[in-house]
């Protein structure tokens, strides 16, 4: 019923229309002809700068309007300073300084105290600087300022709070492929700075696992010094008294003669590349393209800022006007030529667009960057950008925090204290010619790196239309599991046991003679809503061809792997490439299938070691550690009496990260002279997983000639 209510609406509208037309509509002033009074004076307090004996730099502004005192701190430390094998250390240190409390007060006690007073103390360490914040009612400053001092100077770093941050960090890793825009920008930074660069690298399970309490203590000891610290304080206090209070509580913090090291350079070569992250559960692509950006101390910075505004500024920049308002290709379209204070920023243009308009949007974004360097920039556009900057200049002074943070920022990065005024003067002088010149000099529309996160099956054109496509595998890496040092005896014993097991299953020769097999099985899949039974048929042609047909209520789903290539065919007959992660997991799984393992005992790089006698569900077993070439190790357990493999366990990759998997094998029956387990049950992270009951196995049967062919 589309318009029941709208019919009444139309009636109402007619009535309203009558009223409306009866009203005299006064002649209206043209909004373009309005004259405005001069702006009231901007009263800008100048912060007082004081350096304490131990080197702490203070900026203070008295502000008696509210009985509150606020402090914002900056420390010369960042994630750029953490070791490459412990990425995450800086962030965890920054968080646990506060959550873990100090040697005199636990983090939980601090929480209780602060929340009872409506006060806040927070600490953190970001990419290139660390920070702290305190906000407190004036009357409580003598309770809260010592807490801040204590957590900065004497953090306790208790194990349980470190573990809490590590749990959070691991969870963040496991969630990092959930949001396509996050994925796109994370990978884009790596494309621009390099995956190993301190400006782009990110945490992995292994780097989080490697972090210990000793690391936090050392990181704090090495970087947190009074002569690497600045405080900005504003609020209801007398400046001299506040300086004294701060000197008192931080007086015991000893100067270290600290010199902040320079940041590493960025080595960038302009070129173009086309990169794709496949994500098949979304209907919208995130498109980002661009190249390296600049540094703010460049004399061209002012002209670049105006250029940036013309291309990507808010609702009136070209990107918004054209890609969104004119072409309707995106809701979110944005870009920036970013200039950092002390290392090169990045330049990009980006949007989110439907899968079916992805190529069109790429062309449109690229066209707009190109047009900046070839077409006219109009006086109109220049004036709009300049007026917008100059008229909104007053907003730089409407909060004390902003004023004081800016002064600290300039000093921290070694910029003149009047850099904002210099920027204003600089922008006033920018001409159309300047903008054209910097656009031509700094934008390279033909040498941009492109990344798309999306469902490329539905794109309007194949990505290859833009160049050779590099598919980025975003599978979350498992922490590498190190196999224990193997003695010669362990290795010999391991080999011997495997050969004995192979004999028990029918003999090495019989196993080597297996070329194909076909299996039909009932799989019970455990789902949150209950269990579900699926029939699967698997066809295998050794060494590297494999196909499974899942018979689901919706129809058949085929998984095919042929050498390096793989496909999924859904019940509708649509074909998709097999995701890399899924292919790797099949390859890993094959190495864990005893029949296939025993065929490959001579494979180069395979390490087998005996690790002892254990029990599996009451049965004595021989435990082996198997490390297939290039893969993580797993444990294989052989029944000590029958030598049948009864279980394997080890980490495996899932779409969302590593899981600890186990598989039990039982109900061995003979098929063509070989013993085959007819029952397999699996668990993941200790939770019940699939149960597979074999219905029928045939060995060395003829398989259909096209079984492993690329689907139509």
């Amino acid at each position: 019923m589309r318009s029941t209510r709208l019919k009444t609406a139309t009636l109402g509208l007619m009535l309203a229309g009558l009223v409306f037309s009866a009203l005299p509509v006064a002649a209206q002033k043209d909004y373009r002809a309005l004259e405005f009074p001069p702006l009231n004076d901007i009263v800008t307090p100048t912060p007082t700068r004081v350096v304490l004996d131990n080197g702490i730099i203070l900026y203070l502004v008295e502000d008696r309007r509210l009985p509150m005192i606020n402090l914002s701190a900056r420390f010369g430390v960042g994630a750029v300073n953490e070791p490459a094998d412990k990425i995450g250390l800086a962030g965890i240190t920054g968080a646990v300084m506060r959550t873990g409390g100090s040697t005199s007060m636990s983090g939980d006690e601090i929480d209780e105290t602060l929340e009872g007073l409506g006060a806040a103390v927070e600490t953190s360490i970001g990419l290139v600087s660390g920070s702290a914040f305190m906000s407190v009612l004036k009357d409580n400053v003598d309770t809260v300022l010592p807490i801040l001092a204590d957590v900065l100077m004497h953090p306790a770093f208790p194990e349980d709070k470190i573990e809490l941050e590590k749990v959070t960090a691991r969870s963040t890793i496991s969630r990092r492929n959930d949001d396509p825009t996050d994925m796109a920008f994370r990978e884009y930074r790596k494309l621009i700075y390099g995956a190993e660069s301190v400006y782009a690298r990110h945490t992995e399970y292994a780097t989080i696992d490697a972090i210990t309490r000793d690391d936090l203590v050392a990181f704090h000891r090495d970087w947190m010094h009074p002569d690497n610290t600045m405080f900005g304080v504003w609020g209801d206090f007398d400046t001299d008294e506040m300086v004294k209070k701060i000197s008192d509580v931080f007086g015991g913090w000893e100067k270290a003669g600290f010199v902040r090291p320079d940041l590493p350079d960025v080595d960038y070569t302009y070129d173009s590349s086309v990169n794709l992250v496949r994500k098949d559960d979304i209907n919208q692509s995130t498109v980002v393209l661009g190249h390296i950006g600049g540094v703010r101390d460049n004399p061209d910075y002012f002209a670049l800022r105006v250029m940036n505004d013309i291309l990507s500024g808010g609702f009136s920049g070209r990107l918004f006007r054209i890609v969104r308002s004119e072409q309707g290709l995106a809701y979110a379209v944005f870009g920036i030529y970013s200039a950092n204070y002390n290392f090169p920023g990045i330049f990009y243009v980006a949007c989110m667009t439907s899968s079916e308009t992805t190529a069109q949007a790429i062309r449109s974004l690229r066209h707009e960057v190109g047009r900046m360097t070839t077409d006219e920039i109009t006086e109109e556009e220049l004036n709009l950008a300049k007026e917008s900057f100059l008229n909104s200049f007053v907003f730089n002074f409407d909060s004390r925090r902003e004023i004081i943070d800016r002064q600290m920022t300039y000093e921290y990065y070694g910029y003149p204290q009047d850099f904002l005024e210099k920027t204003k003067t600089g922008i006033e002088k920018v001409t159309v010619e300047d903008v054209k010149r910097v656009a031509r000099e700094y934008l390279q529309p033909d040498k941009m790196r492109l990344i798309v996160v999306g469902n490329d099956q539905d794109f309007d054109e194949a990505m290859s239309a833009f160049g050779e496509v590099n598919e980025i595998d975003v599978t979350i890496a498992l922490p590498a599991v190190e196999a224990p040092e193997a003695t010669e005896d362990d290795v010999a014993m391991g080999r011997d046991l495997l050969v004995r097991s192979a004999e028990a299953l029918g003999g090495l020769d019989a196993i080597a003679a297996v070329k194909t097999f076909r299996e039909t099985a009932e799989v019970t899949v455990v789902r949150p809503m209950g269990e579900m039974n699926i029939t699967i048929e698997s066809l295998v042609a050794l060494p590297d061809q494999w196909k499974t047909v899942m018979q689901t209520p919706m129809g058949n789903i085929d998984f095919i792997l042929s050498g390096d290539q793989g496909w999924i065919v859904d019940p509708m007959g649509n074909t998709q490439p097999l995701p890399t992660q899924q292919r790797d997991s099949i390859i890993e799984d094959q190495w864990r299938n005893p029949l296939i393992l025993y065929q490959r005992l001579d494979a180069e790089g395979l390490v087998v070691q005996h690790i002892g006698q254990e029990e599996v569900e009451g049965t004595a077993v021989e435990a082996l550690l198997i490390t297939p070439p290039g893969l993580n190790p797993y444990r294989l357990y052989l029944d000590a009496e029958t030598m049948f493999p009864v279980k394997w366990s080890g980490q495996t990759v899932s779409q969302q990260g590593p899981v600890e998997a186990e598989r039990m094998m039982s109900d061995y029956r003979e098929v063509s002279g070989i013993m085959v387990p007819f029952m397999r049950t699996s668990t993941e992270n200790g939770n019940p997983g699939d149960k597979t009951v074999t219905q029928m196995v045939e060995i060395n049967v003829e398989l259909p000639a096209d079984a492993f062919a690329a689907p139509e």
Partner: protein
Amino acid sequence: MKTRLTQLIPLAVMVLALSGPSGSAMSQDLAAFEQNVTEFTLDNGLTFIVVENHDAPVLSVLTYADVGSADEVKGITGIAHLFEHMAFKGTTTIGAMDLEAEYAAMEKVDEIFDDLRNERHKGHLADPERLASLEQAFDDAKTAARELGRSNAMDEAIDRAGGTGLNASTSRDATRYYYSLPSNKLELFFALESNRFLEPVLREFFIERDVVKEERRMSESSPVGRLVEEMLSAAYKAHPYGEPIVGHMSDIDSMTRAEAMDFFRRYYGAGNLTIIISGDADPAHVKELAHEYFDRLPAGPPVEPVETTEPPQIAERRVTMEDRSQPVILMGYHKVDINHEDDVVFNVLSDILGSGRTSRLYTKLVKDQKIAVNASSFTDFPGSKYPNMIVFFAFPSKDYTAADTEQAIEEEIERIRNEEVTEEELSRAKVRARVNLIRGLESNMGLATQLAYFHVLTGDWRNLFHSIDAINEVTAEDIKRVANEYLVSKNRTVASIVTMDDGGTE
């Protein structure tokens, strides 16, 4: 104009009250604050609230239209939000070049769209050639109409004047338009805003529809966005709070300019608008400008509230979304609207259970059991004008499931049903309510947003302060009673993401 000093007193008084013994000081604070507030209503019903703050020569403006997506009916979901987008496209004077020609061109676009829509309605029987030629004609007509007007003239005028933070938002209850300006440009706001709601021209309507479709896809691309939409549609079987604000794709796809204009005329009468100006403004000057520019707006037809009432829920509802993303759990319990006396009890209850590092959920799930990276709660979801929900949620830690965290949350809810909260918890919640109020008042835009919300939904902006008094009255017994009445399983909708791994075949 008031002197600087008088207007500085109230904030200070309010904060001082915080550090004193607990008790109601808000009425005094309000009396002081009121000196800086001027409220007046034009004959056409348009209300203005001016809050003076002369610290810096800047001000924030906010127009609150008392219409949201809850006012929509099936078939036109998303129209409130789409109109909000269209309200940026200019008017008969802003952005107009040759109005007569432009209107003719827009009507042609409308006509072709009607033909196209009729052809599409035939489904499989549609004539592909006719479809293709209509689509081509549609594109051409859109381009032709676009050339005849400037859809970004209003954005540009605000940008040029130094405006910042220009934006708008549509919720289920309301549509808000806002930005900040250097205070000497106040008249520009009056010129633009009065025109915007007098004679809007819905330029590039069909292109903007495509933009909105992308906005919808953006939320579809987010696992939590998908989950929330599913949760609401399960929680509300009658009331329009169950519909997505952005609308259903097919509704957006079939919407016409005439429908959007009908919606505008029905809901954007002056009597349905409230304007807040907060910052360096002189109320007498504002009043003059208000008469000069806004007297001409028609009052508009009377607007009726949504008559559909969500019936009491009699059975728990569950939404389990198997998704290739990490687990999330949302547990929503139906509760009362903003004007019910129990509403404020939910604010305190939610604060104790789910706000900050000392809250019960954070302490149990995050700090102690480490089964979640975040556990929290919020109220007034998905709106506050009509009966709504209190929601508890958690993001489970790696290797934990939604079910693990659900159980822990349920234990805490059971505890709050069975035992009274401690005095310490209660007083912490009250202190926080006051501090949050103060912090919200620090910025011009924060103030404008809060005052508009209370004024329109409760009938008086002063209720912003009275609500703190009401919070101070809440007792441990109230919390227990409310928990037992509302936080029961038959009254809830539990929505979760269960991580599905598609690599699970052997």
